[in-house]
């Protein structure tokens, strides 16, 4: 099997995951107690009859289940994720409007987490058992045990309440109407707290993984070969150990993406960052079920696309993909 076949297989997987996500959403609606229309309308009680009957018509809820399923799948395929009851707007439009803010925050967190984690992990692995190594391990342990949302609140308490150096919420200063570079700087200042809160947990897990990977690879025979060849220690570490330790990290980034989305929901909420995460919270409190389900579908597709990207990156980084997995 060559690389193209591998990528084709992963592409197929992405398609299958997408289809499965839509199916799962469909059955989630039916899983809930009560009739599907009321579930879609939300349970807050202020859904009026006209809205419910329009839902019935749209999803063909008086038709047999396969017909309903077909209607639902074709609707989603057209990009029709239903109407947000609370906002009286198509769900997709609501989500797309918020998406850039979330992508900005996540990209920042991911880059900081990967860069910081790999550097810290590599440093820790250089001397296992040293003070630096112990420090990284202790930090990782702490960040694993702290609820992310609470970490964010503590950051606000320290940096916004006590030290008053960073803005506690929002994406930019309200009413300041900055433009150009000043606006970029303002957004960046707002991004530091939520971005770092989000990044720290993943940085800890990258550091930990990089460390164990490097220690494991350092024990392998080919590293001994490299030394036997008279390669300088720096090159051995870089070309042989780090290079081999990093390939699984690429795959790991894909697996982490789904966890990152969860963290984003919480952190955006704490910092009132106007992204998809706060939107999900608003949907929960307003019992806006079509919106909540729409967020699930959109984020699931995005994450599986991100996984496809990391798989392709992996297939370039490791020639052994030909061996099939």
């Amino acid at each position: 099997m060559n690389r193209l076949a591998y990528i084709a297989r992963r592409l197929l997987r992405t398609v299958l995951v997408t289809v499965a996500v839509v199916l799962v959403s469909f059955f989630l609606i039916r899983l809930a107690p009560g009739d599907a229309a009321t579930v879609m309308a939300g349970q807050s009680g202020y859904a009026d009859e006209t809205f419910i009957s329009s839902l019935r018509a749209e999803y063909g809820l008086d038709k047999p289940l396969p017909v309903q399923l077909w209607k639902y799948v074709t609707a989603v395929a057209r990009g029709d994720l239903g109407m947000s009851y609370e906002r009286r707007q198509p769900v997709l439009d609501v989500i797309v409007a918020r998406l850039p803010n979330t992508l900005l925050l996540d990209a920042f967190a991911l880059v900081v987490a990967m860069a910081g984690g790999i550097v810290l992990g590599a440093l820790a692995a250089r001397r296992p058992g040293s003070a630096g190594d112990a420090g990284v391990t202790v930090l990782a342990m702490l960040f694993y045990a702290v609820p992310q949302f609470w970490l964010g609140m503590m950051a606000v308490l320290v940096f916004s309440v006590w030290l008053a150096v960073l803005p506690p919420f929002g994406i930019e200063t309200m009413g300041a109407d900055y433009t150009g570079l000043a606006r970029v700087a303002d957004v960046a200042r707002h991004m530091i707290l939520p971005g770092m809160t989000l990044a720290l947990y993943y940085m800890a897990s990258y550091a930990r993984l990089t460390r164990t990977q490097m220690i494991e690879v350092a024990d392998q025979e080919f590293v001994k070969t490299a030394r036997a060849k008279g390669i300088a220690e720096r090159q051995v570490a870089r070309r042989h150990i780090l290079r081999n330790a990093l390939t699984p990290l690429v795959t790991y980034a894909g697996l982490q993406a789904s966890i990152l989305v969860g963290g984003t929901v919480l952190v955006e909420n704490v910092f009132s960052w106007p992204g998809v995460g706060t939107l999900a919270y608003e949907a929960v409190t307003a019992r806006d079920n079509p919106l909540l389900l729409g967020i699930f579908i959109v984020t699931a597709i995005l994450v599986s696309l991100f996984n496809l990207a990391t798989d392709i990156a992996y297939s370039i980084a490791d020639p052994r993909v030909e061996l099939g997995r």
Partner: protein, 535 residues
Amino acid sequence: MSALVRIEGLNVALPPGGDRTLAVADVNLDIGSSEIVCIVGESGSGKSVTAHAVMGLLPRALKTVSGRILFEGRDMLTQSAEDWRRTRGAGIAMVFQDPMAALNPVMAIGRQITEQIRAHRAVGEAAAMRDAAVLVARMGLEPGLLHAYPHQLSGGQRQRVMIAMALSLSPRLLIADEPTTALDVTTQAQILELIRNAQRERQMSVLFITHDFGVVSDLADRVAVMREGRIVESGTAREVLDRPQAGYTRALIAAVPRLSGSPAPLAREKPLLEVAGLSKRYRGSGGFLGLWHGRREHRALDRVSLTLQRGETLGVVGESGSGKSTLARCIIRLADPDAGEVLFDGADLAGMGRRELRAQRRRIQMVFQDPFSSLNPRHTVGEIVTAGPRAHGEGAKISLARAVEMLKLVGLEEAVLSRYPHEFSGGQRQRIGLARALMLKPDVLIADEPVSALDVTVQAQVLDLLDKVRRQMNLAMLFITHDMRVAARICHRVMVMRQGQVVEEGPTGALFAAPRNEYTGRLLAAIPGRQRLEA
């Protein structure tokens, strides 16, 4: 002639808590220029540790070293890390046991060779790559291989690459640590030839680590025999091989199985087991329902037939990938054959349903290769040995009594019943595995490489035991091995397999003395140390 390498009073400490304090104890050894010195010993003898010490590549846990290692008059143990680095790869080069593990999996072969050249010489990548091309060509490899990755090569090719790399800067000393142990016998012969030629051409010295006296007799100018970290005997190859002084050396040499003197074939009787036209194909596994794998097929077994009668041992010999293990697995239905029949006492095992099979299968049992994985580490020997009778509904008391009897037969005490597998040595574990197989009073015993994981002295004991059990219980034994010498020792008849097919079959003595097939002839010629040890 002054020595290129002089090892004086070398001690390497083991971490505390082991069964001895020194991995290497008071080793003195000289390696003259353009001389091949073999260190030979069983596992744990310290031979590999000695080699790694000369290379300055001891594992972290074995850092405490005393004594002197002089290379061209310089004491390596006192020199700086940078001096070490400059010596490694240029002055001393090393080839390891497992070439797959020894090559970086994500770096192209060419880069791995040029990397070494450029670590010691100020040349550009293109110039280094031209050198690499010349080197691999001299190892009999295609230059196109420089762009390949290790996993795309065969085991023999990988080891050639390793040797090309080791020779790239014309070292004065080549250290080879069991470089052919992971390879098939014909490949092993080629690699040994390659090393010998390179040594002659370049007038370099070779320190060769091996457990195989055959290899020693083919290669060595001088020999050192190690046991438990000490050199028990050393001298020229002729002295040590022809007139061994130490008792241990004599025992080691005597334990090497000879090709001659195999048991005579039995008088023909009605066969107990008859295999006819057995075939098995494997398709590439994994992938989404195999969708993207194309139709890669591999014929593991191609119309194999054999007969086996009571009291007879039939050897199945072949290199890796010959299908010999698949044959065993298909006969006993650990794998399902695609075609053919396995007639056992008149009934066809190959086409049997699960229930029927269960009843028949107790009459065919198996002894496995790996003494570590063949016994469940979480069960006591008692549980392991009585599992068979209990699975067939026999009472605990009867099973236990029989277990004691069987353990006695394989030479173990009743007291072992309550102990766990990790408390036993490899040879003892194989005995336990044999006792387990005998508990159901089988008619046929299939032994799949039962001694290949064992040291040569233990190997001889287990082979003798298998033969004794075969005689006492009048067993039909199918003996699978890659080692012709082992087959010669206990098989009445042998069958040579290659790429899933039977190449040749006949009485062991006659077949080995005068092979009719060209491949069998090559296999026999490739056995290391044949001339000397058979003489």
